[in-house]
Every structure is written in C-alpha cells, then in structure tokens.
Symmetry: C2
Subunit: 401 residues, 2 copies
C-alpha cells in the first residue's frame, strides 16, 4: 500500500473529471467553480452526510439518489451552497444534475450533486447552463476538480493510495475541500472519493462511515458545521476483483487504504484551516473506550483557548487540562500525563518544571503534537485542528461582504 | 423591585469588603488582586460550581465547606487560579483561608475561597500572607472587591437590587468577573452575591441554581470553561424577615430579584467578552420545551462563525440557520422565522429580501438582537454572547507570556 505521487480522485481506472469557471464565485471571476466527476462504467456509491438539521438542497437530492447505491457521475460547484433555499433550491439542484446528465449522455438519476459556498443564495442555474459544456473531462482532471471545489481553501487537497494485495491491485483516490465550518461528529466538509475496486454496497457504506469517523470526524477548525457537508465514494469495479464484502480477505486492506486516504485529506483540511499556520495533532491514550478517547481528543483540539495559545506559542498547558476536563469524559486529574511534543509537562496530575524556551520552540513548529495519557483504559484516538489566528476572524467577518 | 444606583455586593445590610494589591497578578503590579467579603453575622451560604472534571483547589475546598450551608466570609484572588496544583494547591487554598480567618478573628471553616487566573501555577501564599493585613473592610468595599477579581475584564461588574414586598424589604447585591472561558451548561465565571434577606438553605440552593441557569449558564464567550468557575451567595438575614422557603409568599419575589441581579451581571460579562465590542442577544421562541430553547439559543450565540459575522457587520444569516441546525434541537427548516433586530430575514424557512445597508446598521450596534421563532411549541429562552474579534485572538495567544 503506497501513496501515488500527485495522486488524485481520477487516479483509479476509468474515472474522468474536469472543471470550468462558471462565474458562481463572487470574488474572483476567473476561478474554477464548477466541475464533474464521471466514471466510464456504473458505480456502486455511498456517502456520509452532514448531521446538521438544516440540510442543503444538494444533500437532500444526493441522499435520495443514493438509496439505490448506484451512480455514474457527480457535479459539484463552489461559490454557492444552495442551502436555506427551500423548494426552489431543490429544483435548482435537480436542474444542475439534469444539465450534467445531458452533457454526459446519461440519466439524471445517476448524477449526484454537491455544492459549497454562501448559504441562503439561489444557485445561478443560468450561469451553470451557459458554461457546463466548457468542461473537458480527462483522466487527470481530478486536479482541476480539486481546485474547483475550493472556497476559502488556500491549496487543493488530493491523494491516492495504491494497493497490491495478492493478485488484486486497486487504487483509492480522493479530493477534499475544507477550511472553515469543520466540526467533529458530523460528516464535515466536501470530499469526493473514487476507487476502481469492486465493493459490495453494504460494505462500502460501512467502510466509508468507519473511515469518516477516524478522519474527517476528528477534524475541528471552528466548531461549526455546514448544511452541505458530504463525503462521497464511487466504486466502479474496473480493478476486476471479486466485490469486497465485510467477510472478504480484502476487507481489511480496503478499509486500511480508505482510512489512510481519508486521514491524509483530513490532515490537509486541518493544516489549511482558515487563517491557520500550524496543525495541532491531539492524541488521547488510556481512555476507557474509543468513544471517550475521541471525545477527549476533539474537545482539546476544538478549544478556542488551546488554539489561541498554540497560535501565540504560549506554553499555557492548563488550558489543555481544562479542555479535557470539560469534554464530558470521566477523567481523574491525578492520573493524567500530558505531553507537548516529547516534553512531559504534567505527570500523574502534577505539573513538572519545563524549559519555557524549549516548549515555545515545539509550539512554533508547523505541526504541534499534544498527547494526553488518561490512564483509565486502553483506547486511543487522534484529532486534528489548527491554531486560531487573527486572520481567521478577518476572513470570517467579511465572508459575504 | 429596583436597581440601586452604584449598587454592589456590600449594598445589603451587614456586609463589608475590601481589597489590596498582593502582587499576584503578573503584568500590572499595582492592580488589586486580593480581597475579602465579610458579614457581621453568620450567613446561610450556597454555591454553584464548575462542571469541569478538573476542579481547582479553591472549588474543592469551598464545596467541602459549604456542605453545612454556612459561612461568614470569602477570600478571593485574581492572577493565579490555583488549579492543576494537586495536594499542595489544596494546602495553599486552606492557608489562604486561614490567613483571612486570622485577620477577621473567625474560624477558618467559615471562610470560603475563590481564585481566578493562570492555571497550573502555585498560589504565592507568601505574598498573600504579607499583604492580607492591608485590606481595610468597609461598607462600600464591594467596589474594590469587584476590581480585585478582574483578570482580562476591562470593567468591574456590580449590581444590587432592592425589594419591597409588603412589610419586608431586602437587598441582593453582587459582583462578577468574566471575559474569556465562559460557557453555558456550567457554573461559569466568578460571582459573589450577598443578601440581607433571611433564606432557608434548601430554597437558597434551589433559587441560586435556577438563577444561574437563566443567566450565567446562558452566556457564551468562547466555548471553553474553567476549573475555577463559581457562583456564591451569602444570606445574613439582617433584613429580619421570616426565613424564605419554597412555600413562602416571598419566594417568588426573591427568585425574581436574584434572577434579575444574575442576568444583569451575566450581560455585563457578555458585553465585556475578551476583545468584544458588541453584545449579541439571541432569543429562541416556539421551542418544544425550555431545555431545547436554551440549547438552540446557546448554539447560535456560541457559533464562532456567527460571532465573526457580527464582528464584521456581515448579514450572513445562513450561519445562524446552520448553527441552530446543528444545535441538537429538532428544528424543521420550513417552520423557522429569523429576525435580525426587527428585520425578518427568513419566514417559514424562506429567505426574504432585505436592505443590506439596514441590516449592516443593526449588526453594527452595541447590542445585536437575533430572534428565532421555531414554531414547534411555546418555550422561549435568551442567551448572551459577543462578537469574535481579532483582539480576542491576540489576548488569548499571549496570556501567560
């Protein structure tokens, strides 16, 4: 199992993609903002959607279309979320799928839709109609598509993992967009995954949920979530393997590869958090179970005060203790060990002396590892986030203006 | 029932307070940082403490001492939280109470302790010992005490409410400190309340919990909580009324006055959030029950994206919808009405056209009212918060450095 250099969502066999500038994005009219992912052959498809009760039209539409577990293409736009747009929004989303289907010569029912951008504005369907024909699909069009789904992201997020397992070889590729409005416990962000492995629909759904739980659901940028969050996977079976089920020999390695791709993308999202310059990686060990380990790790990585302290390279470790204390996990102060990088600052609940300068150096790195050992059990989990910067506030106070 | 001009925690009969500079605060050595609240006669006393699993030594000590429901004094410091300090911290807190008791000529068991400031540093007991005698108690010393508990607060927070009910007259006064690390669902911040009403201990505990639930527990500055949060009330009975119980005629008016004092202080805390220039007041109506109304109101007022949008006077109302959608409350999009100020921007889930300029004016006010009507029931709740500014980040990235 290895990462493919410059791998992307079109790295697996039979996937094509492309993007264009439809003028949906407001600020920069030259930016790509409309794209398509297409498979030569029908795919088994699954998704994880936002838990937000306010669901965007594309989420409602795609969820409905995925009941059968089948798809051939996905059409995606940035610049407009098509959320809080009521029935008209649903019609607009369906129209967007119709337009893509027409161009591809397939049924609208086989087209999934995803949108990201400003909430509460109607989708400019006319602009989409006028420009969707300009999209040229290609086998390395994943790179274009990765750029077309960006909003406040500063870099495209792409990966692909190649697996050789016995006689089978397959690839899982993916792209994601993230930045603001990313929160654990929800499907989070926009992520399109593709694989040429043949996968049973039941197992695909299960594997995607598991992968999302240990990757995207462990990322926190600002504690908010969006009505548009969606993680989608399409499996076209061109690798020629027997369809993988939960019982297959390949099940383990498929899950591992999917986890790896998703964690890679999740870390890209954390690193590129709005206004962020540092990734924070919080690992909690010694928890009674995985649920509590995750809860504790997410509480620390989501804490505005911890994030602000990392931003200032301030070794204010008390905030980490306070965050784990309010996480809802039954921690016992006198059992906790806390490490910042490899420096133990709290041992069995007692503060240890440390070199302020050394700790500031660790906190100034591009990746800041924080490790908590709760000493209450054996479960562990890792969560990713970023520093909270003045720039985050600036970006988010001017989003629609 | 009316607010007393320049009212404070020593406005009720028989309460004295004072403060001094013990040099516990690091940045400004001239600042008041140690103070005492004292009652001429023994008080019935109750408190609400932080729900954080990591509890500071003063919280542990005061909780233990309040089991009997009695107190004569409280000694408070800022500049050091005495949290995450283990057994030594407990000894230090007890020593601080001993020193206060000695000066007042009372038993240490009758002295409560509260601390606020940096976590993980030992209390400088020596400095407290050297300066506690400088504290001069007076009948209007509440003003000094209010300043002595400030950390990143920019203004002292004080109030007093006078009640005339039939033949009875009594006063409830209080002071609070807040700013960062304030979060709903927890006892939040530091607040000292005093009253000359005679109150039964069972009712006093109940009334304080209720008042905290509708005031301090509805304030959100940054979503974090501290190991030191404490709301304390002392009732000395000098008003001469029959002790108020849940069944008393005076129960309702006492609760109302206590609520009013707490809500006043809670709003002061929200208004003075770290780096804040605007108070946000979110009212949720039409909820199925009070728990859900509170949950929804707090989710909106806590949302970093909503807070950042208000900071930029950006009428990005979609973020309000997204926040209520992820609150956990079972909202139905097509039933929601949303008002910013008196402008309806969403009616039955449908966006209405609005004057961008008019909305920006409302969002630029010192108080920004947001109202959500869920149309799912009859319960309502209000929560208070503040805008998220670049200054918040600056303050919190340099706290211990």
């Amino acid at each position: 199992m290895e990462f493919i250099p410059s791998g992307t969502v079109t790295s697996p066999e039979g996937f094509h993609a492309g993007a264009t500038c439809a003028g949906i994005k407001k600020r920069d009219d030259k930016a790509l903002d409309l794209g398509v992912l297409f498979s030569e052959v029908p795919c088994v498809a699954a998704a994880v959607f936002t838990n937000n009760r306010i669901k965007a039209a594309p989420v409602i539409l795609s969820r409905r279309r995925l009941v059968g577990g089948r798809a051939l293409a996905a059409v995606v736009n940035s610049g407009c979320a098509n959320a809080c747009t009521g029935r008209r929004g649903l019609k607009d989303a369906a129209k967007m799928a119709d337009l893509a289907a027409e161009g591809l010569g397939i049924l609208p029912e086989d087209v999934l839709v995803a949108s990201t951008g400003v909430i509460g504005k109607r989708l400019p369907v006319r602009r989409i109609q006028d420009s969707i024909d300009q999209i040229i699909l290609s086998r390395d069009g994943g790179h274009e598509l990765a750029r077309a789904i960006m909003t406040t992201d500063t870099i495209p997020k792409e990966t692909a993992v190649a697996v050789e397992a016995g006689e089978s070889t397959f690839v899982i590729g993916g792209i994601a967009k993230g930045s603001g409005m990313i929160h654990p416990d929800l499907a989070t962000l926009l992520c399109l995954l593709a694989t040429d492995a043949a996968v049973d629909i039941g197992f695909l759904r299960l594997a995607l949920r598991r992968a999302a739980d240990s990757s995207f659901n462990m990322v926190s940028i600002d504690g908010d979530t969006s009505p548009n969050d969606m993680v989608l996977i399409m499996a076209n079976g061109l690798a020629g393997n027997e369809p993988i089920t939960e019982q297959s020999e390949l099940a383990g390695v498929f899950q591992q590869a999917l986890d790896r791709a998703c964690i890679f993308l999740a870390k890209c999202v954390a690193r590129d958090g709005e206004g962020a310059s540092r990734m924070i990686e919080v690992t909690v060990g010694g928890a009674p179970d995985i649920t509590q380990a995750r809860l504790a790790a997410r509480a620390v990585v989501s804490s505005p005060l911890v994030k602000a302290a990392v931003h200032g390279s301030d070794p204010n470790w008390g905030r980490i203790m306070a965050a784990v204390g309010r996480s809802g996990v039954k921690v016992v102060e006198s059992k906790i060990d806390l490490y910042i990088g490899d420096v133990c600052v709290v041992s069995a609940g007692r503060p240890l002396p440390f070199s302020r300068r050394g700790l500031k150096r660790i906190l100034s790195g591009s990746e800041v590892p924080i490790t908590l050992q709760l000493n209450m059990g054996t479960a562990a989990a890792t969560a990713w986030g970023c520093n909270l910067s003045e720039e985050y506030v600036t970006i988010n106070s001017e989003y629609t203006t």
